[in-house]
């Protein structure tokens, strides 16, 4: 998933009050600066694994490895918990939904790393690499990326309407 991550993160941030209330931590307002910053940073955190690849510090296959595992999501949330439990809960939800959003890619997600290297995928679309124009263009030549990512933008628009935010105010 590429541009669809924006819609997924925006939708998660719209549910910030419900997510924090369900976890029993201090409430965070929907689409507040706090919820948007935490959710977007956490949701995009797994894809920052391209930075060491671009810098030549890691091979290409480092993409979608440890950063796309369940342990990484737990560790990131646990690291945030002492600073702000609400941030930890929102970050955990964002990281989990990043994995869900990427589950359609043929690259597969090593969810159980470091305990197992088995990769899980729904094989809805073929992976096209971690970055670059070919990766972007190739993604949108495939049907299911339009279905899932486009669908998420419809969901995001629905949240704009439900929360009475412009242009639905």
């Amino acid at each position: 998933m590429q541009l669809g991550h924006i819609a997924v993160a925006g939708t998660i941030a719209s549910f910030a009050p419900e997510i924090t209330a369900a976890a029993g931590v201090p409430r965070v307002e929907a689409w507040s600066a706090e919820s948007l910053a935490v959710v977007f940073l956490a949701h995009y955190l797994p894809n920052l694994d391209v930075i060491p690849i671009k810098l030549g510090w890691a091979p290409d296959r480092f993409h979608c490895s440890y950063s796309h595992s369940l342990l990484f999501a737990v560790a990131a949330a646990a690291a945030l918990w002492p600073f702000d439990p609400s941030w930890a809960v929102l970050a955990f939800a964002s990281l989990l939904l990043h994995l869900v959003a990427d589950s359609g890619s043929s690259v597969g997600l090593p969810l159980l790393l470091p305990f197992s290297r088995k990769r899980f995928s729904l094989y809805l679309w073929a992976d096209t690499g971690h970055s670059g124009w070919l990766a972007f263009k190739g993604t949108y030549q495939q049907a299911w990326t339009w279905v899932t990512e486009g669908g998420m933008f419809v969901v995001l628009a629905a949240r704009f309407y439900q929360l009475g935010v412009w242009p639905f105010s």
């Binding site: 091979p59 971690h130 990512e149 419809v154 439900q162 242009p167 639905f168």
Partner: protein, 83 residues
């Protein structure tokens, strides 16, 4: 991107159906959608609608099959660890 000329038109039709269903499910009497707001829903619904139309288009399947043949993560340089 499309093997059939009908694919984008079919996408608009599917988008209209998705948009209709979405507005029918969401709209409340307290906050009726204006024409412009409904148009936003219909326009966005064309994105997944196009995807649904592409499911029946051979060009999309061909692109997926071709990309599945490529290993984008194969080591490029000497010294990369090989499993």
């Amino acid at each position: 991107m499309f093997a059939y000329r009908r694919t984008p038109y079919l996408g608009v039709v599917y988008g209209a159906l998705i948009g209709s269903a979405t507005t029918w499910l969401l709209e409340t009497p307290e906050a009726p959608l204006t024409f412009a707001q409904a148009a936003i829903f219909y326009a966005l619904s064309c994105l997944p609608g196009l995807g649904l139309a592409m499911l029946g288009d051979p060009a999309s399947r061909k692109a997926k099959a071709e990309f599945l043949q490529v290993d984008f993560y194969a080591p490029k340089e000497l010294g990369d660890p090989v499993e």
